[in-house]
Amino acid sequence: MNRSLYRSETPFAVSRTRRDFLRDAAGLLLGGAVLQASPFIRAESTRKKRKVVVVTFGGGARDQETFAPEGQENIPHMLSEMAPQSSFFTHVTNQGILGHYVATASLATGVYETLNNFASVAPEHPTVFEYFRKELRRPSSDAWVVAPSNGFHRIGESEVRGFGPGQGARVILPKRLLGIASAGTNADFEHLLHDNYETPLYTPALAGGEVELQQLEMILKLSIADFTSHARSLSSPDELSLYIAKRLMREEAPSLLWITMHDIDVAHSGAYSLYIDGIRRTDRLCAELWRVIQTEPEYAGNTTMFVLPDFGRDSDFDAGGNGFQHHRTGDPASRTTWMMVLGQGVRHGVVYDTPVQSVDLVPSIGAMMGFSPSQSSGNPIRELV
């Protein structure tokens, strides 16, 4: 047996590769050398207008298809347009359960959630949206989630006493919206509507429908006809999500906006080319969103954008998995990811190797926006606050 095949792939080795590559390719600085006073101290006066947009780089992507040298061709926009403007964290660890709903819930609560990934349940701890709204006394219109599948419809708020129903984010499910809007028509939107790739046969049924249509018309200021007409020009669920997110930003301008992408998760089908297509599309959509943030009057100059995968995918060399196809082994490649932070108060072109955890996201957002996520088990990321 060829033991050399099982090379030591530690989280540190994974993150070091990212750092070296970014430093060489994008000319970025190493963070330790420039760590000084927080940029957010200088930005204190603008805190009231501060907006935060979080994008989960959908469905989990590995280094060798993104930030490693052999993956750079798949992320031209993030590399050339976004990385030079960002603080890049090379070593983000997810120590929780690697299922998309539960991992996104963990990101949103700052606690490694243990809920059933495929069940229609609320997060077990208060979400960032609940802390934000409660402490800063923000209306429901100020926190939104754009989520990929019906299984995410409860991501916006927990059932925790003192927080809970009515105090979290409003959740919009673009595919569900499209499904309702196009019901009874002959339009073929199937390519935009498949629910998820981990259990492709199941789409959790949700009650209602009228409320969503009201969202379309009252909040997004979109007629059903315009919405379905535009949807015809889109090729993937994530493009639909971005379209809705842009409408929300224009019409509602939420201060806390969370967008979960998931096209990349087509990798579960085992077709490598489709996985790569998903990464390239997500790269393009992230750059497009960043451009919107810089040009929308409500967002330009006062917004911090976080881009991070919820987790990675299995290594080619772990015999317990099947490489890129799944995220089941819990090996370092599947647990270790990166995070790119851009915009207001963020140092440009800096790479940080310091290990951070997925659950540190919420406390960091809290420190930026001025609320305390008391039940989070994470810590504010020193380099950001």
Partner: protein, 402 residues
């Protein structure tokens, strides 16, 4: 129930040969921790339908475990013993449903943050077992062949990038007759070293005719099985209360006869074929995924001495519901995307081969069908080298095993 409570009657529902095997090794198994035993039983319960080499590996494993003095049992299994298992898992019918138990156990380990400890325990155990059971010498050095890119007229991106660093890249292989040469090598090896399930041919489309000593599976030939399974899955999910986990249980319990496989079919091979679809993900809809997964399972389970995998164009991406509905025999194909899938599939084929005994002496060829690009990996092939010299396919097949 705990392992120490096991009796031979506990296995009354097991197939006959598995029951006999357990009777022989029960004392050894009863000493083992709860976190480990269902994983072992998951292998044993299918013993009657395992390939000869798998059977031999399992017998050796059980003998090794049974032969451990009590003092070493703790050394080998102490880390499994320190994994906590919930009472509800202990009360689960893990004896009769070991595969389902392992699924539930995995979810429990994730949720209790014990997965890393379990992974380490499993890896350490595998290493000990490898050291204790040295493999038998192979009758012939192993050879893997991956043929990719069927139906692609031109492709201007560099191919086999992952494989090149492990062998020599040839850019000027004479394409004419190349496929025939590769099949001739497969046939010659199967004739020279005949053994059940030792020489395999996997095709992502329609298989060519080969001699009877070669175990052949193809995506096209398995279309009725695939459609039957998809239909059965649709029926199951329409039932009230059915969810993803319940469906997995149904699939795990399925027999070839449930899907219309005739009784006179080879029971070992037909179960293997069924599992490619019930355990694989995406194998039901994409032929490239099928070919890759079949190669992986052929190497992992049968430890094929020769494996030729020929990828074929898969259907183009369509809505998942449509793909899963099946029955689209003349679906639009995606040759270019399939080439990229197959290139990665060839890389995984080589990785899977490297996990087997005597890997350092094995040979591997990946070839862009109908074109001059190929990579050849073998003990004496220079690594990371390139050659633009005109060569025949015979040169590659002989070079990788010298």
């Amino acid at each position: 129930m705990l392992p120490r409570d096991l009796k031979i009657e506990s296995f009354a529902s097991y197939p006959p040969e598995a029951r006999l095997l357990l009777g022989k090794h029960l004392q050894g198994i009863r000493r083992l921790p709860m976190a480990f035993v269902p994983s072992l039983l998951r292998e044993v319960i299918d013993y009657d339908y395992r390939f000869p080499l798998e059977r031999s590996v399992l017998e050796k494993e059980l003998s090794t475990i049974g032969g451990l003095p009590d003092s070493q049992v703790h050394e080998w299994f102490g880390s499994f013993a320190s994994i906590s298992i919930s009472p509800s898992l202990e009360n689960f019918d893990w004896v009769n449903l070991p595969a389902q138990f392992v699924e539930k156990e995995a979810a429990y380990l994730w949720s209790t943050h014990q997965l890393d400890a379990f992974r380490k325990a499993a890896t350490d155990y595998g290493d000990r077992l490898d050291r204790a059971n040295q493999p038998e010498p192979l009758p012939v050095r192993r050879l893997g062949i991956a043929v990719v890119g069927q139906g692609v007229a031109t492709y201007d991106q560099p191919l086999f990038r992952n494989l090149r660093k492990h062998g020599t890249y040839f850019s000027n292989v004479r394409a004419e007759g190349g496929l025939g040469t590769l099949f001739a090598v497969l046939e010659k090896r199967s004739e020279a070293h005949p053994a059940p399930y030792a020489h395999w041919y996997v095709d992502g489309g329609a298989a060519r005719a080969v001699n009877a000593g070669i175990t052949t599976i193809s995506y096209d030939a398995l279309t009725p099985l695939r459609n039957s399974l998809l239909k059965r899955m649709q029926t199951e999910i329409d039932r009230p209360g059915m969810g993803p986990e319940e469906l997995r249980t149904v699939l795990a319990r399925m027999n070839p006869s449930d899907l219309g496989i005739t009784k006179n079919a080879d029971p070992v091979l037909s179960r293997f074929e069924m599992k490619l679809f019930t355990e694989g993900s995406g194998t039901q809809i994409y032929s490239t995924t099928f070919a890759q997964w079949a190669a992986r399972e052929t190497l992992r389970r049968a430890q094929a001495l020769t494996l030729l995998v020929r990828f074929a164009p898969r259907q183009r991406q369509r809505p998942m519901n449509e793909l899963l509905a099946g029955g689209h025999g003349d679906a639009d194909l995606d040759p270019d995307g399939s080439l990229i899938d197959a290139e990665m599939g060839a890389y995984y084929h080589w990785i899977d081969q490297q996990r087997l005994p005597d890997a350092e002496r094995s040979g591997f060829i990946a070839w862009f069908e109908g074109h001059g690009s190929a990579v050849a990996i073998g003990p004496t092939m220079p690594k990371g080298a390139e050659s633009n010299t005109a060569v025949e396919m015979e040169h590659l097949t002989s070079s990788v095993l010298t």
